[in-house]
Symmetry: C2
Subunit: 267 residues, 2 copies
């Protein structure tokens, strides 16, 4: 099946993980988004301005399924380079852009679906990316850590309709960090800098997708880097929403848990 | 009237501002909370462990009104030093503490009220601390900044029931910072470190009390420091909730606005 699959590659490790799992998939890169094309993988170099050319290339390669993998910063677009299809789509995309990142992604998804492509979640292609509910690695959380997790989930639920907050850090009932645009690792570095006298105990990171987030092409991820950043922030462990947060490179993540003594629990 | 007033001093500038305004008030400091007692001001050195002694001292000085001024970190308490009244109150205070900072403050307020004292807001004693709705200093905000403010207020409203978030930073529709335990200045320093390529335009700080926050003794504040920190974070201006955010040292704040070119608007 994966010879009918194209991997639309953003930044981060996910495109590489998918390519390693699907060596006969078509790997699509975009001008302005730095990615390494895996050795020996079929590759199409696309640009957002020439989206019609991308549709053509996908169709003539017999692609039926697409997987969006990795993060894409909103690229700087040059309207002078727009092809006919992009000229037609630009007003829709610009209108969506004004309503936030989620709206833009939904619109991009709709555009590809109208072209007849099926969008697959990365974890539909590589099921090992997900943890199941109840899966747990490392030491048990304390009762306080469980309460911190419960309050963290409430905070994420309250923020979710406002298209903000995929992660939060609590310690001893106190909120030490709420993820904003800068991302999880940046928030963890902020928490690491919290003066010790403000802290009560270690604390936990809670990560979950926003409500209504389209998990076919925008799934929160953690990996060994996240575990190490959480350890530097002094935390005791990490909670993720089962079935909707990717664990990249599971082996490396498990090794990071071993090294740091943190727990990882899927809820 | 202010000779019947005691200023219960926490950290920050507010106790000094009140003392300067009410030179015949009794200035109460607490062991473990560093404050400078104003020259020539009547002073009582209290400790949280000996709260009965504080009640006595206040009553024998003819105090009827109290103003809580400035921030108090939760002090380290030594139960071996508790006097009879504190031994009686400790279980109530500990139970409240488990429910968060707001609950603790409400309980402390109740304790003083049961002793017959009236709690006054700092701005009831020094009305110049507050700005009125519509008051505006500096350049006009742009339409985008007004939209950012509206979205910021929505975020604060969503978080408010969870006892978190007195301030938020938005820029071009994107959330760059949500205040957590570390406070507004710390959040602004975090925003200042945001990589420029993630930012769209300047942005604004929005500050407001949490819903249900007891404004008699826990009022968010800004001052010249906040204006300078907002300028270092690259922001265009500051919105505050009229009537419920103190502007400390108005002259210095206005000078900071002049120097930085930021606006300050009360909503």
């Amino acid at each position: 099946m994966s010879k009918h699959l194209a991997i639309l590659a953003g930044s981060g490790d996910l495109p590489q993980i998918l390519a390693a799992h699907c060596p006969d998939a078509l790997f699509v890169s975009f001008a302005g988004v730095p990615v390494t094309v895996p050795q020996g993988q079929a590759h199409f170099a696309a640009s957002f301005e020439q989206i019609g050319a991308l549709f053509e290339a996908l169709k003539s390669a017999g692609i039926t399924d697409l997987v969006f993998a990795g993060a894409m910063q909103r690229p700087a677009l040059n309207p002078a380079k727009f092809d006919a299809q992009m000229l037609g789509l630009a007003p829709r995309l610009l209108a969506a852009m004004g309503q936030g990142d989620d709206a833009l992604l939904r619109e991009v998804a709709a555009v590809f679906e109208e072209q007849g492509f099926a969008l697959k979640a990365a974890h539909a292609v590589v099921p090992a990316l997900l943890m199941q509910s109840g899966e747990h690695i490392g030491p048990d959380p304390t009762a306080q850590e469980e309460r911190d997790c419960a309050k963290g989930l409430e905070i994420l639920a309250a923020l979710s309709p406002l298209d903000v907050g995929q992660a939060v850090v609590l310690s001893g009932g106190q909120v030490l960090g709420i993820e904003t645009l800068q991302g999880t690792d940046s928030m963890l570095a902020y928490v690491a800098d919290t003066p010790p006298q403000l802290r009560r105990g270690k604390g936990v990171l809670i990560k979950a997708p926003k409500q209504g987030q389209d998990l076919r092409f925008d799934v929160p991820s953690i990996g060994a880097d996240t575990i190490h950043a959480a350890a530097r922030a002094g935390l005791a462990g990490v909670y993720i929403r089962a079935g909707s947060v990717n664990v990249l490179h599971r082996d490396a993540a498990e090794q990071a848990l071993q090294e740091t003594g943190l727990f990882l629990r899927a809820l």
